[in-house]
């Protein structure tokens, strides 16, 4: 039985060669990833992080007209309070009603953990359907009910007969993987199993009359339109600015662009299969879903890295264009856009030349941005990827060629980052959200690796990245002063030894 037929999706650790504890260089990382030795590595000291549930919630909270039910003890949903702010805002920017996603908790008690919580889940689904009238109800299953083995499928099957919403199950047992990126597979598994991804007659389209004289022409028109439509797959780190830039470029090639699955509604998701190509914007986001769509609807897909910087953007664009035989047009477009953008960034390049930089965050983004910055004249001191899996291999083969001597680690650990910043003393840190405060307290200038309010992709993106770096260097007083008044929890002896001393086989 393939993954897609299973009730519970595999965690990344079971599906791919993966790891979260490594230090060395890019070439060795790729080899270690291929041989599987990365899987064996761990740490003797860990700091708390997020889990696949957190990222699954971030994605689910964006889906239009949905309600989230935490099938969990009372605490698991607590981060949804603050998650509702960006998702409501993201809706507003995309022209949808800027409402927060309501959520509920089955609030499992000690007796539920012993006796099972299925009845509560059923009641909560029925209440959510009645009270909020959503199109989609996400049933998020966390550690506790996964351990006691609540029969979620059966409970949801019962619920489906009495509620009008579609119920999507997101299996998020945090203990099954330390790798947050497992959430992408969890989320897509829920979507592909819980929702109808084909257009419905009379709802989404008007069927052709039997034997109608214009049928042949109409069908040809539909197929042509479909063949020129591309689905571009977004995810939490990709904001409307980046979507706009990608749409602008693909539209210039004559393609119709639609974004999935964040911020989509049930009816929009039904149209997923009505496209000629699925396009990824990150190697570790959506291969699970894209391979499903290929298997199920015979839709081809392109996974070609992340369009950050001139070289990677051109490569991404050409790969998408090659599917349509538009390489020449794409190449000309890239030439034109590059020319404009290179002139625009010239004044910034003078100011950042030779600056040393440390990058921390998502594996594909940090690798792609590192080589981009090196090409623009930065001195890349180190790359810290939050996790590594084989999907990222092409990126790190490239890093291995461009930056063979640069230190690469797989780490989302604040203490290791602190050590590296204190010992490498970079001029700039580019880092994932959740770490900015820690970097400021070390007195080092930094910008965010991503932020949905800003642009990072393609030509506008590289201009904005450089503009924000220059902006950051204009005044660093806040960090300088703050760092003088912060006491770190780590003993001085740690900083005198190896940053990665707690990594073990």
């Amino acid at each position: 039985m393939g993954y897609y037929e299973q009730n519970v999706p595999p965690v990344r650790d079971a599906r791919l060669k993966i790891g979260d504890s490594y230090q060395g260089h890019a070439c060795d990382l790729v080899n270690c990833g291929q041989e599987g030795c990365l899987l064996q590595k761990g740490r003797g000291f860990w700091q708390a992080n997020a889990c696949q549930m957190a990222l699954s919630l971030m994605m689910a909270a964006t889906v239009e007209n949905s309600v989230i039910i935490m099938h969990a003890p009372g605490g698991c949903g607590a981060l949804l309070h603050s998650l509702s702010v960006p998702s409501a805002k993201g809706r507003g920017i995309r022209g949808k009603a800027p409402l927060p996603t309501p959520w509920l908790s089955t609030n499992l008690s000690e007796s539920d953990v012993i006796g099972g919580g299925e009845k509560k889940l059923l009641e909560t689904i029925e209440y959510a359907d009645r009270e909020f009238r959503p199109e989609i109800i996400f049933a998020v299953v966390t550690c506790a009910p996964s351990i006691i083995g609540d029969d979620i499928e059966e409970t949801v099957r019962k619920a489906r007969s009495s509620v009008s919403a579609d119920v999507v199950i997101l299996h998020c047992p945090g203990f099954k993987s330390r790798v947050v990126a497992s959430a992408y597979d969890t989320f897509y598994h829920g979507i592909l199993r819980g929702l109808d991804l084909t257009p419905q007659p009379w709802v989404d389209f008007k069927p052709l009359p039997e034997g109608g004289p214009d049928n042949e022409l109409a069908e040809k028109k539909r197929l042509f339109q479909k063949s020129r439509t591309v689905n571009v797959w977004n995810a939490t780190s990709i904001g409307p600015g980046d979507e706009g830039e990608v749409e602008r470029l693909l539209a210039a090639l004559g393609l119709k662009v639609r974004f999935f699955a964040e911020y989509a509604s049930r009816s929009e998701l039904r149209l997923v299969s009505e496209a000629g190509l699925n396009v990824s914007m990150c190697n570790v986001h959506d291969d699970y879903m894209l391979k499903f769509l290929e298997e199920k609807f015979n839709m081809p897909y392109v996974i070609a890295g992340m369009p950050i910087g001139f070289r990677h953007t051109r490569q991404w664009l050409l790969q998408v264009a090659s599917h349509f035989g538009l390489e020449k047009e794409a190449s000309a477009l890239a030439d034109y856009e590059e020319d404009l953008a290179r002139k625009a960034i010239e004044p910034f390049l003078e100011q950042v030349k030779g600056k040393s930089v440390l990058l921390c965050g998502g594996v594909v983004r940090v690798g792609t941005e590192a080589t981009t910055l090196q090409e623009l004249g930065f001195n890349v001191l180190g790359i810290r990827a939050f996790h590594y899996d084989e999907g990222a291999a092409p990126i790190y083969e490239d890093v291995g060629e461009a930056l063979p001597e640069t230190h690469v680690s797989v780490s989302n650990q604040i203490f290791e980052m602190t050590h590296q910043i204190k010992t490498l003393k970079p001029d700039l840190v580019i880092s994932h959200s959740g770490t900015g405060g820690y970097i400021a307290k070390l007195g080092v200038p930094s910008i965010q690796l991503f932020n949905v309010d800003n642009s990072f992709f393609a030509y506008n993106g590289i201009y904005q990245i450089l503009r924000r770096i220059v902006f950051e260097f204009k005044n660093t007083s806040y960090r300088d002063r703050l760092s003088k008044h912060v006491k770190l929890p780590y003993k001085q002896s740690y900083f005198e030894g190896d940053a990665f001393k707690y990594i073990k086989e």
């Binding site: 700091q47 889990c51 009372g74 981060l79 309501p102 000690e110 203990f175 604040i414 003993k491 707690y502």
Partner: protein, 435 residues
């Protein structure tokens, strides 16, 4: 426990405990559960409680065993033992608290045994049991402090007759805990007492260590911290006094008089000075307050600690008309009677449930020529009430968890100064509409 909750205004026992530990000086958490719990739960207050953020060794810096399937199957004590050893090697702290989550409780790890072995070797390590299914953040507050005061700190040889401990305000889940504690400390030192607040910047580990020698525990909540204070009395012989958090001059006068009489002190000068200061500011604003007709109907939606003090402040000091007071805590049948007062409260948690209660209890004018509408209305609650308020044209201020539409640093509403701050914020919200 109710069957299910809509948008609960709390998290779990582990979350409450981590919030306590992360705000105590030199106390380090060791989160014994999946790697995600520590970060996710810390974020609920780091971003959901006026952007409290992370401290010395909390949030993403908190040591955690990060147990995985292997430990779920074979037990997590070896991982815990290794994590404690390395935490002691790497992290500077005076007390290390192992706090459990659901998964390690479900597999039955002997966490206390592991911590005990470290303590036998002279390391300051204790363990507390804080799975989510045992209770919410308020319980975690109780469990964490109980672990420190009633299971770890030795009994005091003698009492300090001037020393009091303050309990009842929960870090994070009471968004103004720091500012409120600062003012309580200022008021009490003003009448000659010494105060352990534990969670404010002036406090050190020494304040925790000296707690058993206090002569009185003041619990500023009718519900939370009371059990803790009872057990504290059993262990250390320190009596406790449960009272409301005083907000504004009327409540603060009574608070100071009562505490002074308990200690045989004179609070009259402090009261006189506090009132003089308060009314010197408050009096001047009467021009704007009256000329602009800033009298409102008020609905409060808060946890049980803030409900009565807030309702009394708007009724007594501002002369507003209180129409509803919603208490959003999950209270047991034994806890409910504690909230009885002249303020009639309703227990409700769900945002939708509360919005409906406000709207059906006080219908809108549907075009009637003469209609005594509940207007002008001010809803003082959490950020979750903002949309409820906007939908019926009411004003709104966030004071109760979750608060994510304002940043809170040392702001507090307790005492004379806090009363002025609350007044400023309530009215400032109205003035901010002007352009």
């Amino acid at each position: 426990m109710p069957d299910f909750l809509e948008r609960p205004r709390t998290a779990c026992a582990l979350a409450g405990a981590l919030s306590v530990i992360g705000n105590l000086p030199d106390v380090i958490p060791i989160v014994h559960t999946s790697l995600g719990c520590g970060g996710n739960l810390a974020n609920s207050v780091a971003f959901g409680s006026g952007y409290l953020g992370s401290g010395y060794c909390s949030g993403g810096a908190a040591p955690s065993t990060g147990v995985t399937e292997t430990e779920i199957v074979f037990g997590g004590v070896d991982r815990l033992d290794e994590q404690i050893r390395n935490t002691l090697e790497l992290i500077d702290g005076k007390l290390f608290i192992v706090a459990t989550g659901c998964v390690t409780e479900m597999i039955g790890d002997d966490t206390a045994g592991v911590a005990g072995r470290f303590r036998e070797k002279g390391f300051p390590v204790i363990a507390i049991s804080t799975p989510s299914f045992k209770g919410d953040s308020s319980h975690g507050y109780d469990i964490a402090l109980d672990g420190i005061f009633n299971n770890y700190l030795p009994k005091a040889e003698e009492k300090n007759p001037k020393l009091v401990n303050i309990f009842g305000l929960m870090p994070g889940y009471d968004p103004f805990f720091r500012g409120d504690l600062e003012e309580i400390e200022r008021l009490l030192t003003g009448i000659g007492l010494e105060v352990n607040t534990f969670f404010t910047p002036s406090q050190t580990f020494e304040n925790l260590a000296s707690a058993p020698s206090a002569s009185l525990n003041i619990v500023l909540s009718r519900v939370w911290g009371v059990e803790l204070a009872k057990r504290f009395e059993e262990r250390h012989g320190t009596p406790y006094w449960v009272t409301d958090l005083p907000i504004g001059p009327d409540a603060t006068d009574k608070f100071l008089s009562e505490i002074a009489s308990r200690f045989g002190l004179d609070a009259s000068k402090a009261i006189e000075k506090g009132n003089h200061e308060f009314y010197s500011y408050f009096g001047r604003s009467a021009d704007a307050f009256c000329d602009q007709d800033l009298k409102y109907y008020a609905v409060t939606v808060t946890n049980s600690t803030y409900a009565i003090p807030l309702a009394r402040f708007v009724s007594t000091e501002l002369g507003w008309v209180l129409v509803d007071s919603f208490v959003t805590d999950q209270l047991s049948e034994e806890q409910k009677p504690a909230l009885e007062s002249e303020i009639k409260f309703k227990l409700a948690t769900g945002t939708q449930e509360i919005a409906r209660a406000i709207n059906t209890g006080h219908p809108r004018n549907r075009g009637q020529r003469y209609f005594d509408e509940l207007s002008p209305l001010y809803i003082i609650g959490s950020t979750l009430e903002k949309r409820t308020a906007i939908a019926r044209g009411a004003k709104h201020l966030s004071v109760s968890f979750p608060v994510y539409d304002r940043l809170i640093a040392d702001r507090g509403y307790a005492g004379y100064r806090g009363g002025l701050h609350l007044f400023e914020d309530l009215i400032g919200q109205l003035m901010s509409m002007k352009s």
